[in-house]
């Protein structure tokens, strides 16, 4: 077979796979734009006659959806800020400083990557309850600030910064902190964005923990709000509103990802597995 024909087949398969990946997004968007009657038609129709953009506003009114969204955004910002600070400092120490029991501490961090979050949830729940932190942002944010994999990933990247730069910056009179800020961080930008996105995905998807530590609707996060408000088993579900809501939940992260995608792919490759 000629090279060109082979490539055509490759593209056909890739396009088909891409379509399969996109179908759920398409169905979500199409349903979100249907009228109540159209969403309940048997057999269903593909395209709504008149796209009901008002569904999105209705979905916002059904549940305190804006409050779920703003809670998630607040928690996400706090987690990303906190976790990035903690991660950057820790991974710098592991990559560029020498101190007693360094290896023991690093293996501890590595080891904690093996521990399932669910193992921690039980005691963390007790800790939060005993501290009286139920229904507070502290409870939603603090356990997510420590992210062992991010520390590992960023340290791997920081190790690749050439030693000469460190010597040069020492000669120029830069201390550790300024070397970190002026030299290391700019070089590790891609991985830094990757760790931020990983934290963000984590928060955006988190379900079990906020469900445990919040009982007030005003503190609910997006996953919980979504699942509580739109999957009621009793009565009929307004599918078009459910899908408007999922569209609203889905879009922000997709936009952030598309804006950062070059860095993300680069960061994944660099931090990835080495043979």
């Amino acid at each position: 077979m000629k090279e060109r024909q082979l490539h055509t087949i490759f593209y056909v398969i890739l396009v088909l796979t891409a379509l399969l990946v996109l179908i759920p997004f398409a169905w979500m968007l199409l349903t979100a734009l249907k009228s109540e009657g159209e969403a309940l038609m048997v057999p269903p129709i593909l395209f709504p006659k008149r796209p009901m953009v008002s569904n999105f506003i209705l979905a916002l009114e059904i549940a305190p959806f804006l409050s779920y969204l703003s809670n998630t955004v607040i928690v996400a910002i706090l987690v990303v800020l906190g976790s990035t600070t903690v991660t950057v400092l820790a991974s710098y120490a592991f990559a560029w400083m020498d101190f007693p029991i360094k290896n023991i501490l690093f293996f501890m961090i590595l080891g904690s990557m093996m521990i399932p979050q669910e193992m921690l949830i039980i005691t963390n729940f007790m800790t939060i309850a005993r501290l009286g932190w139920m229904n507070s942002y502290k409870a939603l944010v603090l356990p997510y600030v420590i992210h062992a994999f991010n520390i590992f990933l960023l340290r791997q990247t920081m190790l690749q910064v050439p030693n000469d730069l460190f010597i040069a910056s020492r000669i120029d009179g830069l201390g550790h902190f300024r070397f970190l800020r002026k030299v290391v961080l700019p070089i590790c930008k891609s991985t830094l964005y990757t760790t931020m996105l990983l934290s963000l995905i984590w928060i955006w998807n988190t379900f079990a923990w906020p469900n445990l530590v919040t009982t007030k609707d005003s503190l609910r996060m997006i996953s919980n709000g979504l699942s509580n408000a739109f999957t009621v088993n009793t009565g009929s579900i307004r599918y078009e509103l459910q899908m408007s809501a999922t569209t609203l939940v889905t879009i922000p992260l997709i936009l952030i990802f598309i804006a950062l995608r070059k860095h993300i792919f680069e960061g994944m490759k660099r931090g990835g597995i080495k043979g």
Binding site: P24, F125, I167, N205, L226, S227, I258
Partner: protein, 313 residues
């Protein structure tokens, strides 16, 4: 090396170590301890004695076995299939030049989609009346299938099994979609890490494409393959929100009260949910300890095998 002993390091590490101690190390110890407390009461912290009672209760619980079966289905059926499709996709992506970035971005989208939201969309796609799948089936002349349905399953084992298999199928499709993204990117990274010279040398020797694939690509990609397999299985062991999104917190289709689709983590969360009743939290702890042991076992196997047969660059 310019590096010298630097005690400032502890200041850099303080926040990480503090949080690690409070939210990771202490909980691990405490969960292990709690798992042995019989008749543990969460509110007062009182318990009768240390014993294996919680483990015994779990191992006698039918629902726990259901959880293990469903979790194993995700780990050992869904994961291999999604790895295979991810590998093929990555190989194709690696051999094209134009539109590569575009396809990578598309394939990554499921990864940044909220799990609950995506699960709801899939539940609707498989909806008995208003779903896309049944619409397509009817179009090609096949009777619509009640994909997620528990009608009559309480009375008949046959209907129960049929309903269960259909739910597993829905879960399988969802996991395939959900699992593709990260694996494609990881495989692609692995493929790009293989040095060009090997291919060049093989081509100069006139080696066939299939042989190049078998003798160069497969062995040199094996560390990546293995890494992807183990991390995917570990992720699968922790599956929870996917099942909740598809089948709600009753872990089954409407009409089912056997928690048909529950996973191990679902089992833990469920027990934790009734934390006020005596013993519930310690049962959850025991289940969590079992989960951690299986994950540690897998990780140990990973290191062992990686050191032995996986080819290095």
């Amino acid at each position: 090396m310019v590096k010298r002993r630097d005690y400032h390091a502890y200041i850099y590490l303080l926040p990480a170590l503090f949080l690690m101690g409070v939210f990771v190390l202490y909980p691990v110890m405490n969960t292990i301890l709690t798992s042995f407390k019989e008749g543990y009461r969460f509110l007062t912290g009182s318990f009768l004695l240390f014993s294996f009672e919680n483990y015994r209760m779990i191992l006698l619980d039918k629902i726990f076995y259901r959880a293990i079966i469903n979790t194993s289905f995700i780990a050992f059926v869904c994961v291999p299939f999604s790895m295979l499709s991810a590998l093929v996709t990555a190989l194709l992506l690696n051999s094209i030049k134009r539109l590569k970035g575009f396809f990578m971005t598309l394939f990554y989208l499921p990864q940044v989609t909220n799990v609950i939201a995506a699960g709801m969309v899939f539940a609707l796609i498989f909806n008995n009346h208003f779903g896309l799948i049944n619409m397509l089936l009817v179009k090609v002349g096949i009777n619509p299938v009640a994909w997620i349905s528990g009608v009559g399953i309480a009375a008949s084992t046959e209907l129960y099994m049929a309903s269960y298999l259909r739910c597993l199928f829905v879960l399988f499709v969802y996991m395939m979609w959900n699992g593709l993204s990260l694996k494609v990117i990881l495989f692609l990274g692995g493929l790009q890490n293989i040095r060009e010279d090997y291919y060049l040398a093989a081509r100069l020797d006139g080696t066939s494409k299939w042989k190049i694939f078998r003798k160069i690509t497969v062995p040199l990609l094996s560390p990546t393959t293995f890494y992807v397999f183990i991390t995917s299985v570990i992720t699968a062991f922790k599956a929870y929100s996917q099942v909740v999104a598809l089948f709600t917190t009753t872990y089954g289709p409407a009409g089912d009260n056997s928690k048909m689709m529950i996973t191990v983590v679902g089992y833990i969360i469920d027990a934790l949910g009734s934390y006020l009743s005596a013993g519930a939290v310690s049962v959850a702890s025991a289940a969590a300890v079992l989960l951690m042991i299986s994950i540690m076992f897998l990780t140990a196997v990973q290191f062992k095998i990686l050191n032995r047969w996986v080819h290095y660059k």
